[in-house]
Amino acid sequence: MVEDGYNFAYLDEQTKRMIRRAILKAVAIPGYQVPFGSREMPLPFGWGTGGIQVTASIIGPDDTLKVIDQGADDTVNAVSIRKFFARTAGVETTERTEAATIVQTRHRIPETPLGAGQILVYQVPIPEPLRWLEPRETETRKMHALQEYGPMHVRLYEDIAHFGHIATSYDYPVRVNGRYLMRPSPIPKFDNPKMDRSPALQLFGAGREKRIYAIPPHTEVRSLDFDDHPFEVQKWADVCAFCGSGDSFLDEIVTDDRGGRMFVCSDTDYCSRRREAGCTGPAMQAAGPGEA
């Protein structure tokens, strides 16, 4: 049920139309940052206002929303945003990736592959990938217009020079559709390959910076690299302590003050689904039968 006194999904209809136009333009020009009139939201910039405005503009009464923060459905930010839309749009919410029509995310792409018809909405803190090279907006726009992206490799060069490999591990720059250089928001580079030719629509909203960009379904997304230092994703020596997964993104958790630690899936939905299906990890096996 939509709570009284709010317009559907909080934003007024004019604002939603304005944002939809920005989204349409962003979809038409994959990777291009479209400016939009970002509104004041009932939470501070930096808490996902860009993603919320994008979600508010595309969500309908029949949609099912999932919100994750660092892969988890049960963190404060994720719970708050989910509740926000439950109250202002009265939509169904879910923790199941495949059940959602819209997934709003901060810092992760779900492990469960997204399918056609699903929309992934990213919360973006800093949209401009060239910002560290060039502080002037006029100049970065020109660099995008002229595809002057070579100097972007300077950062990767520095990584290799200092660490022997490309040490950049999140917000790893990509080239979209062979054209625009794009910042994928601070997702781990582990997730970069999931963006490539995804059947889902991917929308990016930066509230403070007032930019929206998009990757339409089935669009090529390439991570920058060198010929002799090709792009690679993170690998772990461990598996998930709970579900035993060896191919998902793992968070390291310190368990005591004596150096004890374990690795668990960052995607809570993925992990619990695996456990429901009977998979167990080392921590569960150690705890013995009868537990969980």
């Binding site: 002229l146 300077v154 020079a161 060198f226 230092h229």
Partner: protein
């Protein structure tokens, strides 16, 4: 000998720049041939740097043209060609050495990355090759290749200036614009840098325009000189001719004002 058999690399014609009605430089014309070093001398405020910026596509003149002989498409007015073409020229065929190395270097990345940047900008994507080129250039500007991964901030002023030069020359430009390249350095460092510049210019067959207020620097580096005063060129000619037999009252004053240690 036919002086016109080879076309000039760069021709400035009637280059004039006003800043909101204030004169920067007026009606400056000259030509530079491949391998030639042109010195521009004059006191502070004489319009030297304005002229340098006008001819290096950094500051569009109020009037006049600057024509550059491109590698493939013949002479081109640098302010009439497309912006992408101009920007490509600026980071491949041309170099610009600032008086203050901080303006010409990326201070937040290593010496090697500073040198490699222009290569990456034109499409180099092989780390090993880029690194090799960076080593090679550090060596050419007589820097310790073992310090390739150090930040420019850790280098002395003279070394930063060498790094800036290497960063510019790595794409084998045909002309380099230098604004007081040895300014701010102490004399012994300056002398070695001059020697290096002279060697590089002659070994690589580079053309260069060097703005300096130091007549000794002009004498050692340049083949020809322009003497500027209040935005205008008052005298030009062979460097030793201008310095040993100055004709204009201002050139004579300039030459006679030099203090010999």
């Amino acid at each position: 000998m036919q002086p016109d058999a080879v076309p000039p690399l760069l021709s400035a014609r009637g280059v004039t720049k006003f800043y909101d009605g204030i004169l920067g430089c007026r009606d400056v014309s000259f030509e530079i041939w491949p391998g030639e070093v042109l010195g521009v001398v004059g006191e502070s405020g004489s319009g030297k740097t304005t002229l340098l910026h006008c001819i290096s596509a950094r500051l569009e003149p109020t009037a006049g043209t600057v024509e550059y002989m491109t590698r493939h498409d013949g002479p081109a007015d640098i302010y009439r060609i497309s912006e992408p073409a101009r920007r490509l020229l600026m980071r491949t065929d041309w170099g610009f050495v600032h008086q203050n190395p901080r303006e010409g270097l990326r201070m937040g990345v290593s010496a090697g990355a500073n040198i490699g940047e222009r290569l990456m900008a034109v499409g180099a994507r092989h780390y090993g090759n880029i690194r090799h080129a960076a080593t090679d250039w550090l060596d050419k500007v007589e820097m310790d290749t073992g310090r390739m991964d150090d930040l420019p901030i850790t280098f002395s002023g003279g070394m930063q200036q060498r790094l800036q030069i290497a960063r510019n020359l790595v794409t084998a430009p045909r002309i380099v614009f230098m604004d007081e390249p040895t300014g701010g350095l102490d004399v012994s460092v300056q002398a070695r840098l001059l020697d290096l510049l002279r060697g590089l210019v002659s070994d690589l067959g580079l053309a260069a325009v060097i703005v300096t207020h130091d007549l000794a620097v002009a004498r050692l580096l340049s083949h020809r000189l322009l003497v500027m005063r209040r935005g205008e060129v008052v005298e030009s000619g062979l460097t030793d001719q201008v310095l040993d037999d100055p004709q204009h009252p201002y050139s004579q004053l300039l030459v006679s004002s030099v203090i010999h240690p």
